[in-house]
Amino acid sequence: MLQALDVSFAYSRTDGGAGASAAAAVPGKTGRVVDGVSLRVERGLIVGLLGPNGSGKTTLIRLLAGLLTPQTGEVRLKDQPIARMTRREIARRLALVPQDTQTTFDYTVLDMVLMGRYPHLRTFALESPDDVAIAREALAATGTDTLEYRYFSTLSGGERQRVVIAGALAQASDLMLLDEPTASLDLAYQIEIAGLLRRLSRERGTTIVLSTHDLNLAAGTCDRIALLKHGCLLADGPTAETMTPSMIAQAYGVTADVRFHDQAGHLTVTPLARCH
């Protein structure tokens, strides 16, 4: 479905904003934020990208989404090199959900989801009834159909994130990349979003790649986990195999207790102390 082949990326000095600060956070001599990462995302799976701050999660997501071009290696989307596709071609096959979405002006929930139809529309074309139907279907799939005419800015954090995910579904329901989708949400919304992602994967076969700091969320949601450190891939495999005390110690420098939780039905991680 989506594949990174020996991908490396370093921000140049003229790159502003988040990129420059991410680069500064990486101590490596090469300045590579992502360093020789190969990753295969199989159809229908939920893949979690884990790793400490500055490990290159966000940069890897941007590389996988074709928003950044790797200096070496390549990203392939459905066996086509993403570098040779136009932005619109990529956007029709792959949707990205940013960490937090704020609107400057008062768009309604339906407007926000319809914006996902952008790569399918010609410059001067209006949204057709088909586009509206697709948007409504995406609202229903994310349980936000009752919010259709509310202003996006008046929604709660969890509702907002569900609407943004609905927009991603309306854009490309096959493949979705999410950058820390629960980072700014409280506990109830975290569980809500995790449940939604599992349901989308199960019922619609949506392939999902998400980055997160929340090990328990990843353990409960992801089929596979890729662990990053200093831009390199530390481990990549089924959740049960990668979510081990030794891997967590290697990636985060933290000793942790990992055990299967019967009621939750998945592994849980309890961090204990910093390793020395």
């Binding site: 003229t14 932005r87 990205l96 940013p98 609107t103 008062d106 914006m115 952008y118 790569p119």
Partner: protein, 326 residues
């Protein structure tokens, strides 16, 4: 669609009625009376030579400032951005001040030196801002743009004040008048000179509405949805600056139109830029024509600068908007 037609109607009625009203009453039938030669027809002279250019200038300037206000607010993702934010108005002012101070007596196709110099000044400011923006191309550059705009405005305003200070008193009076904003253009050539860049800018903006929707929500998500963000930002920045430069070169820096009109229009038509842009253009034209009508008639026969009227209406509205949002 109906609302847009309403705004169009309002603009047309304002442009049609405004030239008939003024300190000297004129008769419509006499204005269009073909039997009297134009040279003897005082009514026609007042209508066509004194008032119509002024009303058309108001419509053009109002339209251009409102359009560029909409584009700047979306581009900078800041509802308080205006055509002045990026220093384009300050550049235009400096150009005009220099032309006034140096007593420049150049004409190009009937356009006098002051509007020419101010348009050149606005393009110069745009070039500086654009160079700064491209120097920090990737990553989020809007904060950099905003701050650079503030710095450039402060710098250019200081130079404007210095030029005013060293100029002789007659020129200082003239330049102060210009800085207050006035639509008394007096003839048609400057109008045409401002119309051309404004029309080009409006045509470029016509390709932007949906991109502005997406960019106003966030550049990264816009890019992930297939928008060529760099190109969209370039087209938006250049077209909005061109329209601002044209408007300021014609009328001086008329305050608040570019910030108040977009917000007023959004209250009525919602957030979609494919409605906000045309509605703001039309309403901006009507708004400035009516403001200028007040400026001409409130203390007739004294005509005070239209910039005073727009600031008196725009300032309180702006405050209301600010506190309504909290």
């Amino acid at each position: 669609m109906l609302t847009l037609a309403g705004f169009g109607g309002l603009a047309l009625v304002a442009c049609a009625v405004a030239p008939l009203v003024g300190s000297t009453p004129i008769d419509v039938r006499r204005v269009f009376d073909r039997s009297v030669p134009f040279a003897d027809n005082v009514h026609a002279q007042i209508f066509f030579l004194a008032r119509l250019p002024r009303v058309l200038a108001a419509a053009l300037v109002g339209c251009a400032l409102a359009l560029s206000g909409v584009v700047f607010q979306a581009l900078l993702r800041n509802p308080l951005a205006s055509p002045d934010t990026l220093g384009v108005s300050a550049g235009a002012s400096l150009g005009a001040m220099l032309a006034i101070a140096l007593n420049a007596d150049v004409r190009l196709a009937g356009v006098p030196a002051v509007p020419l110099a101010s348009f050149a000044g606005s393009l110069g400011a745009l070039a500086i801002v654009y160079a700064l923006a491209s120097a920090r191309r990737r990553g989020s550059s809007t904060t950099v743009l905003l701050l650079a705009g503030v710095a450039i405005t402060a710098l250019l305003s200081a130079v404007v004040r210095f030029v005013q200070f060293v100029a002789d008193s007659n020129q200082t009076l003239q330049s102060t008048r210009w800085l207050m904003g006035s639509l008394d253009v007096g003839s048609y050539p400057p109008l045409v000179a401002a119309l051309v860049p404004t029309a080009a800018a409006a045509a470029a903006m016509a390709t932007l509405p949906r991109m502005l929707d997406l960019v106003s929500v966030g550049t990264e998500s816009a890019a992930a949805r297939g928008v060529n963000v760099e190109r969209a930002e370039r087209v938006a920045l250049i077209s909005a600056s061109l329209a601002t430069g044209a408007a300021v070169s014609l009328a001086g820096p008329v305050a608040f139109v570019g910030i108040v009109v977009p917000h007023l229009v959004r209250l009525i038509v919602g957030a979609h830029h494919r409605l906000v842009l045309p509605a703001a253009g039309l309403f901006g034209a009507a708004f400035l024509v009516l403001c200028d009508l007040l400026a001409r008639t409130l203390m007739a026969p004294v005509e005070f600068p239209v910039g005073v009227v727009t600031a008196v209406i725009g300032g309180p509205f702006f405050l209301w908007l600010l506190f309504r949002r909290r």
